[in-house]
Each structure stands twice: as structure tokens, then as C-alpha cells.
């Protein structure tokens, strides 16, 4: 059976199974979303936004849409994929199902809990009605597919004036109990007025069985709110990820999303920022270090809708072996959005003979008093720098690694969780296959 047909029959079964309050809009939202998915189908390379990323190979697997059995995991098995020394709220999901055993939630002064509860319980109804699917609706057929099956994920609501004292860690494990599994986490984050929160998100497969994760996250940042999101993408070669993250910002808010892509088979990031109020600041940082046949496609959108805002976008990539990358950075400055400062840069180093990257800035500017800059570079490592370093006793391999470290340095300097920074450092060192007495 084709995946699309399988999804249609699964959808009927799913909707009959979930028992929700009939006054809730969620049922209608799901049904409408599935209709939208069905009419558009999966994107193909004919679609302009998917020109360089083909889902064909990923979609031909016979994914189970729901896991048959719910496996458990011991902390020791997954420890290395978590922040351990840093005190965190933890939302851990195993094959798409919440693990209360591994998690630490709260309702004390803020909500760090699960989407399934928020979608079902009447006390969240107002919030769900006001926010759920407000950003993701009809943005792309994959986010619609996620909406149709939305059931589980992180639900985070930070009230006004609350500085969340510790990071929130959201981790999705897939165990491989199912031969091939499709997971569709759905996260909702509401950062209240003048509130501040840090979120770390990972997707991690634990076996060689194929997994496809189609994740959607909606983030609402209220006036003067601050949110830092770190996306760690360092999965196995059997795991593919489509991540769609939508951020809506009210005035004077600051939102940062850092995307660290080091692994996985195919990774597609759709990251969209909507600046609704004045004096917003958005940061989009990305670093991809890829080898073998890995493919990462970063599609970003920053929509400036109000005046006096800033956006800073910096994506870097290092491509070895046959790895391929895509960067597509769209910036739209609406007519009302005067005095905007929009910065975008995409720098790439090609190491492997067969590696490649496609980079495309797309600027659509309808306001006249704006400062927009963009640039991209694709290059090899600087030979004269390598000779200089070798002359100082640093072997060529280490010299290359050092230059690549230095190149990636920028992307790590804004990581505000020391343990995460140390983990990233270690992954980068491992990725570059080097032991060197050097730290960032």
C-alpha cells in the first residue's frame, strides 16, 4: 500500500479512537488538515521549495503510523543523549509515546507537560482554541499531515513575568521495535509577556530500523518575551527528519533558534519567523557538518510585518564525502515594516570531492527605509592558511580540523547552556575525526 493510502485509513482509525470533547475545535482542525494534505499530497521535486530535496526514497518505506507495543527505556540506555548535569525539565517520548518514567513535568507556576493532555482536558481548551494550529495551518502539506495526526508532544506555557529557572529538554526516541516507524510529534510553546525560557530539542533513533519523524512546533512569544531554542540533529543514518517550526513574535520580544545538524539520513528544516510587533529581534543560527551521504535542507523564512525590527541569520555548513546541503533563506519585508535591519549570511566549506551545496537567498522587500544584507560563500579550506599552520608544527589533518572548528565557532558562541556547548563541541570533534588540544 502506498504511504498516502495507508495514512488515509490510519487517519479514520485515529479519529475514531481519540475521544475528545465535541465542543473542541480540534476534531475539525484535524479533519480539515487531513483534507489539505490529501489534496496536495507529499511534496515532489517539481515543487519549487523541494527542488533539491527528494523525499522519494524516504517515502517508499512501509512505515507504521502507530507503534503496536509501547517499549520502555532505562535511563542508562539513553543517558548519553540527554543533558545530565544540567537540571532540566524533561519531556521524553518513546516511539511517539510519552514516558512519564524518564520525564520531569510541572504545573507549578508554569506548564511543562504533554500535548495529549492539553488537547483533551477542558482546562486547556481556551488556550488550545486560541493557539493550536494558528501558525502551522496550511503552511505545507507535511505540517498539515502532522496536524491531522496531532496527539502527542510538548505543551509548554510560561505565564507572564516568569523566568523559567532551568532548560526544558524535549527528546523523541525511536526504539526500532517497529521495523519502520513514522513519528509525528506536535509541540506548542507559549512564552508569556516578559517571560524567558530555554528549550533543547532532539530526535534520536536507537536502532538501524528506518524512522521518519515529521515534527511540528508552534512557538508564540508575547511582548518582551525571550525564547532560546536549540535543535540537536545528530541522528543515525537510518533516521530522517522533517521539522517545521513556526515562531510568532509580539513587540519587543527576542527569539533565537539554533539548528545543529550533524547526522541523520535526510533532514529538512522549515523554520519560519513572523514578526507581528515592533522592536522584535529574531536570531536564526545554523551549523551543518555532514559527511557520507547525509543531506540537510534548511529552508528559512523571516517575515517582517512591523517596523523597527531586526533579524540576524547565520548558517554555516561543512560538507565532506558525498554529503549535500541546501540553504534557502527567504526574507520578506512588508510595506509597513520600515526601519528594518535584516542580515543574512550563508557560508559553506566543501571538503569532499563529491559533496555539494545549493544556496539561495530570496529577498522580497516592499518597504523603502530598510537595511538588508545578505551574502553567501562556498569555498575550500584556505591553502595558505594550511601551510602556515603546518609550518607551525600542526599536521595537515589537524590543521584542517582546526580551521573547520574555527569556522563553526561562531555558531556555538551563543549557546548559553554550558553542558550543551560541551556536548556540541565533542560531537564536532568526533565528526571531524580529530583529537586536538583545542577548545572553543
Amino acid at each position: 500500500m502506498e504511504l498516502k493510502e495507508k495514512l488515509a485509513s490510519s487517519f479514520l482509525a485515529f479519529e475514531n479512537k481519540v475521544d475528545i470533547d465535541t465542543t473542541s475545535k480540534v476534531h475539525d482542525i484535524r479533519t480539515e488538515a487531513f483534507g489539505a494534505f490529501e489534496s496536495k499530497g507529499f511534496p515532489t521535486k517539481k515543487d519549487e521549495e523541494w527542488k533539491y530535496t527528494s523525499l522519494n526514497a524516504v517515502l517508499k518505506h512501509d512505515y507504521n503510523v502507530f507503534p503496536k507495543a509501547i517499549p520502555t527505556l532505562a535511563y542508562e540506555q539513553v543517558k548519553k543523549f540527554l543533558l545530565n548535569e544540567t537540571d532540566c525539565y524533561n519531556l521524553i517520548f518513546i516511539d511517539g509515546v510519552f514516558s512519564s518514567f524518564l520525564s520531569e513535568t510541572t504545573h507549578d507556576g508554569l506548564d511543562v507537560c504533554v500535548m495529549s493532555a492539553a488537547l483533551e482536558k477542558p482546562k486547556y481548551k481556551m488556550v488550545i482554541d486560541a493557539y493550536f494550529n494558528q501558525l502551522a495551518n496550511k503552511k505545507n502539506s507535511l505540517s498539515d499531515l502532522n496536524t491531522a495526526f496531532s496527539n502527542e508532544g510538548a505543551y509548554i506555557q510560561i505565564p507572564k513575568n516568569t523566568v523559567v529557572p532551568k532548560p526544558i529538554q524535549i527528546v523523541n526516541f525511536s526504539t526500532g521495535t517497529e521495523k519502520e516507524l513514522l513519528i509525528q510529534p506536535r509541540n506548542l510553546v507559549i512564552v508569556g509577556e516578559n517571560a524567558h525560557v530555554q528549550i533543547v530539542e532532539r530526535h534520536q533513533s536507537l536502532t538501524e530500523n528506518n524512522t521518519l519523524t515529521n515534527s511540528v512546533t508552534e512557538i508564540f512569544v508575547k511582548t518582551r518575551g525571550i525564547v532560546d531554542v536549540y535543535k540537536m540533529q545528530n541522528d543515525r543514518a537510518s533516521a530522517s527528519l522533517i521539522d517545521s517550526t513556526f515562531v510568532s513574535q509580539e513587540r519587543d520580544s527576542v527569539a533565537s533558534v539554533h539548528t545543529f545538524s550533524f547526522g541523520g539520513n535526510l533532514t529538512r528544516n522549515n523554520l519560519e519567523f513572523y514578526q507581528e510587533g515592533t522592536h522584535c529581534v529574531s536570531h536564526l543560527n545554523g551549523i551543518s557538518i555532514l559527511n557520507e551521504k547525509q543531506h540537510v535542507d534548511n529552508h528559512t523564512l523571516v517575515k517582517h510585518k512591523a517596523p523597527n525590527c531586526e533579524s540576524h541569520e547565520m548558517y554555516k555548513g561543512i560538507y565532506d564525502d558525498r554529503a549535500t546541503g541546501v540553504f534557502n533563506g527567504k526574507v520578506i519585508v512588508e510595506q509597513a515594516a520600515q526601519k528594518i535591519n535584516a542580515f543574512q549570511q550563508n557560508n559553506n566549506i566543501i571538503v569532499g570531492d563529491k559533496a555539494s551545496v545549493n544556496t539561495k537567498p530570496q529577498l522580497e522587500i516592499f518597504a523603502d527605509d530598510v537595511k538588508c544584507s545578505h551574502g553567501c560563500t562556498i569555498g575550500q579550506l584556505d591553502e595558505s592558511a594550511l601551510f602556515y599552520m603546518q609550518q607551525r608544527g600542526i599536521p595537515k589533518k589537524e590543521a584542517k580540523a582546526l580551521l573547520m572548528y574555527a569556522f563553526s565557532n561562531d555558531a556555538l558562541k551563543d549557546v548559553k547552556i554550558p553542558e550543551l556547548k560541551a556536548q556540541l563541541n565533542k560531537i564536532i570533534a568526533h565528526k571531524l575525526d580529530v583529537k586536538i588540544g583545542f577548545d572553543l
Binding site: 584556505d382 591553502e383 592558511a385 607551525r392 590543521a399 574555527a406
Partner: protein
């Protein structure tokens, strides 16, 4: 220490060194002078092992060992240090981290443990004081945005840290102000011993007043065409190179 015989080297199709001979013994200071484009920096790069240059004839021996097949880092591990005419900017790597990598990679090549951080910091402090380098420089990206003089001073600082056997200073004096020249020369002199040797490439007699050479050579058109004592440098400063070219024609 260094013995070069009949060295021919080219880049792409252009022959630049055309049968060059020089011998430098431990404890000596040699100055190499010569007009622009004569091949001085090329000689330095070839000794240091830059791969773009192809050695077509002749040999280079360091302490009686042929080094012409060694990679640049292996030559560095053998004690060759080149202070670059144009030091390269390494964005994102601080001076301290760079030196730490240099020293520890060199130690690793010799089968030694990494230098303990405490000792390294102490050495960095001593040598940066010797060269009057502001501590703030040490946490900046290597050479990035450094002025011409700052880059040169930093090269000698690295040399002081590496304690090479053979140091080649390629126009280290150009770009230095008068005070910096004295400080840098003083640094080089402090490092001099009977076990090491220095080759100073320069256009100016001034540096040689501070770093006094035992021999002065004129490199012209890819060859050493004249050698003499330190007085030769004075003569060149006064008369230029035309008289040597005339001598060669005769």
C-alpha cells in the same frame, strides 16, 4: 645545520631558484639580501616545505639529514621555523589556542606528553613579556585585524615559544617601527645560542645593526651570487645592486 646544494625550484612552469648553494652552521647568523623578485621568499618557502614549489634538482639537508621529502609539519618538528613575510590570518583561532596546538602537536610528534597548561601559561607570560606583547592580543584571533607590525612581532613571539633550531626571518623588519624593531631584534638575540642558527632576509642594513650577521649573501636571479662579511650589507645599502649585476656580466 643547513646545507643546500645546487637547488633548483619552480612553480608551475617558472623556474625561480636556479642552482642555489648555501651552508649555515650552528651558532651562525646569515643575512640574505637581494632585489625584489630574486627568489628570497621562495627559498624560505622551499626550505619550509611548501608543496606548490617543485624541487627539480639539488638537495636540502638539515643536520646532515635530507629533508626534501618531509611534509612542512615534519620539518617544523625538526626545528625549522619560518617567520612569514606575510603572516596569514586564521579567523576564529586565538593566539593562545594556536600556540597551544603548535607546541602540543610538536611534542606529540616527538613522543612527548602534552605540555601541562600551567607550564604553557607561564611560558606564554615570559615570552610575551620579552616581546612586550599586550596580554589582550593573546585572546584575539591569530593575525586577524593585526597591523603589519603586530603581525611581525607575533611571528617572533611564536618563534620564542617554539624554540627552533633554524629560524628564517623573512622581512620581519618591514612594517616595524623603531621601538618594535629593537624589541623584536632583542627577542631574536635572546634566543640565539651555539645550538641554533638564524637566516635573516632583509632589504635594510638597519636590522643588521641589531642582529649582527656573520655572513651576508646576495641572492640574485635564483642564485647566491656574492657572499661576504657584515660590511657587504653596508656596501649594498650605499651602492644598490647594479654593481653586482655589472660584476656578473663581466
Amino acid at each position: 645545520m643547513l646545507k643546500i646544494e645546487n637547488l633548483h625550484a619552480r612553480i608551475e612552469d617558472k623556474e625561480i631558484l636556479k642552482g642555489l648553494n648555501i651552508q649555515v652552521n650552528a651558532g651562525e647568523v646569515h643575512a640574505i639580501m637581494g632585489p625584489n623578485g630574486a627568489g628570497k621568499s621562495t627559498l624560505a618557502s622551499v626550505i619550509a616545505g611548501k608543496e606548490e614549489y617543485e624541487v627539480t634538482e639539488g638537495n636540502i639537508a638539515l643536520n646532515e639529514k635530507d629533508i626534501s621529502e618531509l611534509a612542512p609539519e615534519e620539518r617544523a618538528h625538526e626545528g625549522v621555523f619560518l617567520s612569514f613575510q606575510y603572516p596569514v590570518e586564521i579567523p576564529g583561532v586565538t593566539v593562545t589556542n594556536f600556540i597551544k596546538s603548535s607546541i602540543n602537536e610538536t611534542r606529540k610528534a616527538k613522543g612527548l606528553e602534552e605540555m601541562p597548561a600551567k607550564d604553557l601559561l607561564k611560558m606564554i607570560r615570559e615570552k610575551s613579556e620579552l616581546l612586550e606583547i599586550d596580554r589582550k592580543f593573546l585572546s584575539r584571533s591569530l593575525n586577524e585585524g593585526f597591523s603589519g607590525g603586530e603581525k611581525k612581532r607575533n611571528e617572533i613571539f611564536q618563534m620564542a615559544m617554539m624554540e627552533p633550531k633554524l629560524a628564517i626571518l623573512d622581512e620581519t623588519d618591514s612594517g616595524l617601527d623603531i621601538d618594535a624593531l629593537r624589541i623584536v631584534a632583542n627577542g631574536v638575540n635572546k634566543l640565539k645560542s651555539n645550538d641554533n642558527a638564524v637566516i635573516v632576509i632583509t632589504h635594510y642594513q638597519r636590522l643588521l645593526e641589531y642582529i649582527v650577521p656573520d655572513f651576508v649573501h646576495v641572492l640574485y636571479d635564483g642564485k647566491i651570487v656574492k657572499s661576504g662579511s657584515k660590511e657587504l650589507a653596508l656596501e649594498l645599502e650605499e651602492k644598490g645592486y647594479d654593481w653586482i649585476k655589472e660584476e656578473l656580466k663581466a
